[in-house]
């Protein structure tokens, strides 16, 4: 660290380099921290969370009971101990609440005054954050699994919606109408994602184990379908279509630069694809437990020098190195299946929600704590500042000598 600082002072290093090193170190030190709590509002499993891209301050969460909560993540108290308060809630008592489980929530990428949520009650609602009333309601014929707004779109404001029907719907927020349908899948569409690099590129994952990449300007069909065997016909067991997985594909995530695409399937595999060519990079992540029948929300770190993937794996969150496939650590804290996780790029924090109703904040261990512990080790007898740590003392009774 000091070396990086002096190099930076001397102007030897790119500013990005220090930043990357530090954020990588922080990501590697993610733990469940008693200092950070998230209010327990949800009485049922948490299906989706999203952190706004503008300030990085507000977090949305959608629960299986239809409740949507907005949390304030920013700690202005000056103390390390902080509990993320719920700023506002669309509770069960609200007349606009989703009737069934909320599957996806997302902030409007340019403003926190608006967010979009979709639910199993076959609707997608566009909410006004101030009044907590839906400004627009899109109704569909089938349950909605997933929707996505392009994070970089300047020329359009389309919401891609994946429903139980194999057609992907495109809804225009400007006109408030469904303007387009993308056909090609044969099963229910579990996840849709816009590319963070090209605003017209869309990826979709379906239960027919296919992942398609679309250009929404081209109505005729998808650009290509991802093939797990890279066109090696000998391995593709007599199937005419290209498949990305050998089961339902329920997770989809672009890397921060949009050059790669990650998919997860119920065959307990995760695959990394080149999003430009659709080539399977054949990174082996090992077994990634995944038995969800719904969308799985996972995320990729940003600004680290080897990037990391955070993917729910049973009741824990697995952390992999993106390009090597090496498992870094397992974040164990949930007591039931984890459904979603979201990375906070500014503070290198991870938030995860699971079926045990908890939203857990994974916070990097602070460097100061290490120093503290060293000094603690030197003068253990001294009370020091470890007032809270009476519980950490051993309590061997004297009769056991």
């Amino acid at each position: 660290m000091l070396g990086f600082l002096t190099a930076r002072q001397a102007g030897l290093d790119d500013p990005l380099r220090l930043r990357r090193a530090e954020s990588t170190r922080r990501v590697l030190g993610l733990t469940l921290n008693p200092d950070r709590d998230v209010d327990r509002i949800h009485a049922n499993g948490v299906n989706a969370i999203d952190i706004d891209a503008i300030e990085g301050r507000y977090m949305l969460s959608g629960g299986a009971d239809g409740v949507i909560v907005v949390y304030d993540l920013e700690n202005y108290s000056g103390k390390p101990q902080y509990t993320c308060r719920a700023v506002c809630t669309v509770g069960r008592s609200s007349r606009y609440v989703h009737k069934f489980s909320v599957e996806t929530v997302q902030w409007y990428p340019y403003d926190t005054g608006m967010f979009v949520s979709s639910s199993f009650d076959k609707t997608m609602k566009v909410w006004d954050t101030e009044t907590l009333k839906p400004a627009e309601v899109f109704e569909f014929e089938d349950t909605v699994y997933s929707h996505h707004l392009s994070p970089i779109a300047r020329k359009h404001s389309l919401v891609a919606v994946g429903t139980k029907s194999p057609k992907i719907q495109l809804c225009d927020l400007k006109s408030g109408s469904k303007i387009h349908v993308l056909q090609g899948h044969r099963g229910e569409v579990l996840s849709v994602r816009w590319s963070p690099r090209y605003e017209h590129i869309l990826a979709s994952a379906s239960a027919d184990s296919m992942v398609k990449v679309w250009d929404v300007r081209r109505a005729a069909g998808s650009l290509f379908t991802l093939d797990q065997h890279n066109g090696d016909k000998s391995k593709a067991a007599s199937e005419a279509v290209n498949t990305a997985h050998n089961g339902r594909v329920n997770g989809l995530c672009f890397t921060g630069d949009g050059l790669h695409l990650l998919t997860t399937g119920t065959d307990d595999r995760m695959r990394l694809w080149n999003s430009g060519t659709g080539e399977n990079t054949l990174v082996n992540y090992g077994k990634v437990c995944n038995d969800s029948r719904k969308r799985l929300q996972f995320t990729v770190s940003r600004g680290c020098s080897p990037e990391f993937v955070f993917v729910p794996c049973g009741s824990s969150v697995a952390v992999y190195a993106l390009h090597t496939g090496e498992m870094i650590t397992l974040l164990r804290g949930h007591y039931n299946n984890v459904d979603c996780c979201e990375f906070h790029p500014d503070y290198q924090e991870l938030y995860s929600g699971g079926k045990d109703c908890n939203i857990l904040a994974w916070i990097p261990v602070l460097r100061e704590a290490d120093l503290d512990q060293d000094s603690n080790g030197e003068n253990k007898g001294a009370a020091g500042q470890t007032s809270l740590n009476s519980a950490f003392q051993d309590a061997w009774s004297s009769d056991e000598d």
Partner: protein, 724 residues
């Protein structure tokens, strides 16, 4: 960490967890704690061994492991961090958070483990929850997702509690319905029971006016006479023809209880009567003498009052008695069980007091009536005993219906039915034996002697049938005739199954004369057998094909001897063996075999004392020798041990030494733990093993297939059979 520490810890943990006790062994626990204090590595090792023990599929092991970990959790920070790090799995293994992974058997211990772990988690939460985040999360998870109520002693989850409540509610409604039904039933039949009771009461009064003895002692004749119920009056009236002193007679009959044998009087009675009279009229001398002819007043009279009463059925009280019987039956079979079931229902469901009291009252009165009836000792003359004695017999006899035997073998055929079976009216002792009576060649005369006309008619028909040579009766009579011819033929009055002897057997039966089957030797008894021992070949009758000359008669001495001899075996009588082998067994008892001469295990039976040692000296010596012979000298345990130590090969000295104990111990690794497999050795599982055995299944399938095929072969040409 030293290796010895490591080993010691593993050993301690294993000992502690496999003790099978509900409490930990204090000494071992103290040792373990002492070791844990040495370093964090020791704690890590303890933690890992504990987790592996917690993963065992045995609730007792898990319980002990949990107890150890809770002890350490309270003491060591390092252990706490380790455990909390893996708290999900810990909860899964102890609290059963994952319904797919239930706690292992035995059930009782598993329940205890669950309750204990939930309590412990709560106490951990209160003392450490603020500093260990995951612990708090786990606690909240249990509380809010699993909805465990930590105040609940049973530590049940919501679902369990709801199920319990539901069951209770269901039971309540069932009970309420039952109570309602029972009370309604009681309302309905209360009247009936009352009526039955009063009827019974009055009937018994009629049969026997009063049970108290005071009446007899204090009352005099005239007062009694007025209050006489009709039944007793009838009794008296009936007897007045033969007896002038009817009034006293009646009183006497009252006192003497069961001597009321209608009509027939014996002399004793008469005498008693007269004595009584005398006592009665002691005041009026003259009258008394005139009346009775007795002079003195100072006769002493002993009256025997039998404590139990007897009522005998007569023609006069027949109607009353039958009513009593009916009523008694009604009470025992209908009313009393009904009342008892009501009481049961009321007590079980905790019904209101008045209902219960009323039912109890009813039961009381019914039972007292039955008791009275029993005390009466009514002698049901000429009635079927089970009916009359229903009071004394158990009710469950009535559950069996008497089914008359039908078809096939009948051990005794009633007299009036014998005709139907084509048998002689007289019962013969054995089917093979010759009929006792002399059988006349013509239809026997006693046929016509049967009294009833119907019977005679049937007889006539039987005789007619006999004329028909195809009927069974004809065959029978034919056989009879033949036998009678035979009996005439036999001249010697041999004791062996001679018909003539059996003729007289009705008077004096020869007890020990053996019965032997009839044979040729008897047929030719005392005569020369004409063709005995000769083989006769018929000459060919053929026109052209004449065989070579053959001897027509061949003498065969063996055959001759055979036809003249008879085997009679004298088996003697069987006397059961009364002695035991009494040789000492390995388990300390004596051999209980009852062989006559030689026990298959312990040789010839010799007299032994109560310890199983032979009484005679030579027997003892012989036994010793035998024991020694059984084991060749190279199998001497000491010697074998030496050889084994020298060569290093196992010759089986261990086996020879302590056969049973060793093997058993080896088989069971942890003797203190309750055996899980034992529970699977139920009758059901054993049956299952038999029934679902592969070979037996195949056998059954084969049989079924075969029967199918047979049917198919038979009816394959007929489409309507072939299809099913």
């Amino acid at each position: 960490m030293e290796l010895s520490h490591r080993e010691r810890i593993s050993q301690l943990v294993e000992e502690l967890t496999t003790s099978g006790q509900s409490q930990l062994h204090q000494e071992n626990m103290k040792d373990l704690k002492k070791l844990c204090k040495v370093s964090n590595e020791c704690i890590e090792h303890v933690y890992h061994s504990l987790m592996s023990q917690l993963n065992q599929e045995h609730a007792q092991i898990r319980l002990s492991a949990f107890q150890i970990s809770s002890e350490l959790f309270a003491r060591s920070h390092h252990f706490r961090t380790l455990l909390v790090d893996n708290f999900q799995e810990f909860l899964e293994l102890t609290v059963e958070t994952d319904s797919d992974l239930p706690l292992p058997p035995p059930k009782e211990v598993a329940r205890k483990l669950r309750a204990l772990s939930i309590q412990t988690v709560q106490s951990w939460q209160t003392s450490f929850g603020s500093s260990y985040k995951k612990l708090a999360l786990g606690y909240h998870f249990l509380k809010q997702v699993k909805k465990v109520d930590f105040q609940d002693v049973e530590a049940r989850t919501v679902a369990e509690r709801r199920r319990e409540e539901e069951r209770r509610r269901k039971m309540e409604t069932i009970y309420r319905d039952r109570v309602e039904a029972a009370s309604k039933d009681m309302e309905d039949s209360c009247q009936e029971i009352e009526v039955t009771l009063t009827e019974m009461e009055s009937c018994m009064k009629l049969l026997f006016p009063d049970f108290s003895l005071e009446n007899i002692q204090t009352g005099n004749g005239s007062s009694l006479d007025d209050g006489q119920p009709c039944c007793s009056k009838d009794l008296r009236d009936g007897e007045e023809q033969g007896n002038k002193h009817g009034r006293r007679k009646e009183r006497k009959s009252e006192r003497a209880g069961g001597s009321n044998a209608g009509g027939e009087k014996d002399k004793q009675e008469e005498e008693e009567e007269e004595e009584e009279e005398e006592e009665e009229e002691s005041t009026d001398d003259n009258l008394f003498i005139r009346h009775s002819g007795l002079v003195s007043h100072t006769y002493s009279l002993d009256l025997k009052l039998s404590p139990d009463l007897h009522v005998t059925e007569t023609e006069d009280n027949e109607a009353v008695v039958s009513t009593v019987i009916d009523l008694h039956k009604l009470i025992t079979t209908k009313h009393l069980p009904a009342v008892q079931s009501w009481i049961q229902v009321f007590t079980r469901s905790g019904a209101e007091q008045p209902l219960l009291r009323r039912a109890l009252d009813l039961k009381q009165s019914l039972e007292s009536t039955l008791q009275k009836h029993k005390e009466l000792h009514i002698d049901y003359k000429g009635r079927a005993p089970p009916e009359g004695k229903a009071g004394e017999e158990e009710e469950d006899d009535e559950d069996f219906e008497e089914v008359p035997e039908k078809e096939g073998y009948e051990p005794c055929i009633p007299e009036h039915l014998r005709m139907e079976y084509g048998l002689d009216p007289s019962p013969s002792t054995s089917a093979a034996a010759v009929p006792k009576r002399p059988v006349a060649p013509t239809p026997p005369p006693f046929y016509s002697s049967s009294s009833s006309s119907a019977l005679s008619r049937r007889m006539r028909r039987l005789i007619e049938e006999e004329q028909d040579p195809t009927s069974a009766a004809a065959t029978l009579s034919h056989l009879k005739k033949q036998i009678s011819v035979l009996s005439e033929c036999s001249t010697s009055p041999s004791a062996i199954a001679g018909p003539s002897s059996s003729q007289s057997s009705s008077a004096h039966k020869p007890v020990d004369a053996p019965v032997v089957p009839f044979g040729l030797d008897l047929y030719y008894w005392g005569k020369e057998q004409p063709n005995a021992g000769k083989i006769i070949k018929a000459t060919s009758q053929h026109q052209f094909w004449v065989p070579t000359e053959v001897e027509e008669e061949v003498e065969n001495h063996e055959l001759l001897a055979e036809s003249k001899s008879r085997y009679i075996s004298f088996p003697g009588t069987f006397t059961p063996v009364s002695h035991f082998c009494k040789a000492p067994l390995a388990n300390g008892t004596l051999c209980q075999r009852q062989d006559r001469h030689k026990c298959p295990f312990h040789g010839p039976i010799v007299p032994r004392d109560q310890d199983g040692r032979p009484c005679l000296n030579e027997d003892r010596v012989r036994e010793e020798r035998r024991k020694r012979e059984q084991q060749p000298d190279w199998r001497d345990v000491e010697l074998m041990r030496d050889i084994e130590a020298a060569t290093g090969e196992d010759l089986g000295s261990e086996r020879a030494f302590g056969k049973k104990g060793k093997r058993k111990k080896k088989k069971k690794k942890y003797p203190n733990l309750s055996d899980l497999k034992q529970s699977s050795n139920t009758s059901r599982s054993r049956l299952e093993r038999k029934v679902f055995n592969k070979s037996s299944m195949r056998r059954a399938a084969d049989v079924m297939k075969q029967s199918d095929r047979r049917k198919h072969d038979k009816f394959s040409n007929q489409f309507n059979y072939a299809l099913n």
